[in-house]
């Protein structure tokens, strides 16, 4: 549908060009009138000589353009006069009378002598030329547009092929692990569509669900924007790769409380700044994973050492070392709430909702120049994901670890409350003032003066009571302090 619109619209452009060009020919009429005036000197001899011989000496001084238009004017002249009196037709057939053309003979001589002078060709301004060549900028523009459209179609198809290649490779593994593979949210019941859900020309989603331990897994194939020529050009300066992002939402009872991440140093530094949970719970800088045998490119961010110890078992280390070039980041967190929200001071009154999640970001090899075959190399990474799900379920902190974890969480919450304490106070204060104002308004609106008085008295009494209570409290505190 979209393609059809494009083609129709592109057809408009050359059509409009042809429309624009026809306007030029209307100007021919004006110049014809000048021709009439030029022949005025011959009117004395005979009225009919206005018809003039069709031969007209074109001096080299004239513009090329004027010449062509005058010829046209001549043609039109002749057409007009053919329709009118036959008299004029007769005079044309008469042999030329030399007397009539006395002044005329000089002209050929004049032109002869002038032809010896160098011919100066005047540059005709571009807009007066009638050739397509003068429109080279427009042709360039249209070519650019066509190139963009071609790139769009090619890029779209490539992304499509890559996505389906990925899916075909992974389909078996997914279907053996999940009951529901592929769902786009439109059906009422949860039935497997078995297809990728295309969100964009470069983003494909897949929702898998129906496995023990996890609520569901959302896989996002985030390809490069191959359909946008600008992006393609930008990527020539700065290479980037396609990414596969996997987000596994765990059931509450299936994961213990810890925050842990491993990945490339650059990615971890960025995540630590951006992600709410990593920034709050993992305060240290990313540490090298060399202690566990990880390659130098990978680093670890962890809430506490025990978590790292528990996570880095043999199989995990094997996965991480073998596929280190494809791993961008891996994050296990029970306090995951997404990236930090940039909010103004007064708005943050509640802690953002957290969910127990495992996040994986993998880079597709090829750094942009991927072929469908590269998708096969991502299959072991999916196995790693499945393994991690099971591991996260099995891994439990020991008593010490649990205490530390709980303390951490309590600390974070306290900090948050302190920060917002001022705001919450202000909020409560403003609410109270609102109530008072509402009361006063009610009293004012009360028409009956008696009622008014009574309400006022009631309000006054309430105020006094409050004051007394406060005083009592202050006294109690003072006593306690002493």
């Amino acid at each position: 549908m979209k393609k059809l619109y494009i083609f129709i619209a592109v057809l408009f452009i050359p059509w409009s060009f042809s429309l624009a060009k026809y306007d030029e020919f209307e100007d021919g009429d004006d110049i014809m009138e000048y021709d009439d005036n030029d022949f005025a000197e011959f009117e004395d001899v005979s009225e009919d000589t206005v018809t003039e011989s069709p031969q007209r000496i074109i001096t080299t001084e004239d513009d090329e353009e004027e010449a062509t238009v005058e010829l046209e004017g001549q043609d039109e002249n002749q057409e007009d006069f053919d329709d009118t009196d036959t008299q004029e037709g007769d005079t044309e057939s008469e042999p030329y009378d030399d007397e009539e053309f006395e002044g005329y003979e000089e002209k050929p001589d004049a032109s002869h002598s002038k032809s010896k002078d160098p011919i100066t060709i005047v540059n005709v301004p571009a807009h007066l030329q009638n050739s397509w060549e003068s429109y080279y900028m427009e042709i360039l523009m249209v070519t650019g547009l066509l190139a963009y459209i071609m790139n769009y179609i090619i890029g779209k198809n490539k992304n499509n092929r890559l996505a389906h290649a990925w899916f075909n490779t992974h389909r078996e593994l997914l279907e053996s692990n999940f009951a529901l593979v592929g769902d786009d949210g439109t059906n009422k019941e949860a039935t497997s569509t078995g297809k990728l859900n295309q969100e964009n020309e470069h983003i494909y989603n897949l929702w898998c669900s129906g496995r023990v331990c996890c609520e569901g897994m959302l896989i996002q194939l985030k390809f490069l924007k191959r359909q946008d020529l600008l992006n393609v050009l930008a990527r020539m300066m700065r290479p980037a790769s396609d990414q596969v992002q996997i987000k596994v939402t765990m059931n509450d009872e299936d994961m213990d409380t810890y925050v842990f991440a491993v990945g490339t140093r650059k990615a971890l530094v960025r995540l630590q700044k951006e992600m709410q949970d990593l920034s709050e719970f993992c305060s240290d800088k990313p540490k090298s994973g060399a202690k566990y045998g990880l390659p130098d490119s990978l680093a670890i961010l962890s809430e506490m050492g025990e978590v790292t110890e528990g996570m880095m078992d043999a199989k995990m280390i094997h996965f991480l070392t073998h596929y280190a070039d494809k791993i961008e980041s891996v994050q296990f967190s029970d306090q995951f709430s997404g990236p930090k929200l940039m909010q103004e001071e007064g708005q943050l009154t509640k802690l953002p909702e957290t969910k127990k999640t495992l996040l994986f970001t993998f880079n597709v090899p090829g750094s942009g120049n991927t072929s469908p075959k590269d998708m096969e190399s991502l299959l072991p990474l999916m196995s790693m994901v499945i393994y991690s799900i099971d591991k996260a379920k099995k891994f439990r902190l020991n008593r010490e670890g649990k205490q530390k974890a709980d303390k951490n969480r309590a600390r974070v919450e306290e900090n948050f409350l302190k920060l917002t304490h001022v705001q919450r106070q202000e909020a409560a204060q403003s609410r109270r003032e609102e109530k008072k104002r509402a009361e006063k308004e009610r009293i004012m609106n009360e028409e009956d003066p008696e009622k008014q008085r009574r309400l006022e008295e009631a309000a006054l009494r309430r105020e006094q009571k409050k004051l007394e209570k406060k005083q009592m409290k202050m006294k109690q505190i003072k006593v306690k302090a002493m």
Partner: protein, 98 residues
């Protein structure tokens, strides 16, 4: 424990992460396209109109599927009309800036 006894769960939360947060390109390009086509129409500048066409194409290429095709089509038609109008008013070819 690969084949689960638990029933197949829900549909996706449909990537609630606000799409406007992720990539503002199509919106910017749409706006730019409209601004340029207005410039092209009012000030009778041909190059403005051409840039507007390009912006509208770029916005289309980057758009999300959830976005309104009507919006896209209207910006597209506006830019095309800007080009056509500038040429109807002034059939001269565009002169390069150098």
């Amino acid at each position: 424990l690969t084949e689960p006894p638990s029933p197949g769960r829900y549909k996706p939360p449909a990537t609630e992460t606000n799409p406007a947060l992720e990539d503002p390109t199509p919106d910017y390009m749409n706006l730019l396209g409209m601004v340029f086509s207005m410039c092209g129409l009012m000030l009778k500048l041909k190059w403005c109109a051409w840039i507007a066409v390009y912006c509208s194409f770029i916005s289309f290429a980057n758009s999300r599927s959830s976005e309104d095709t009507k919006q896209m089509m209207s910006s597209f038609m506006l830019s095309i009309s800007a080009v056509v109008m500038s040429y109807l008013q002034n059939p001269q070819p565009m002169s390069p800036p150098w």
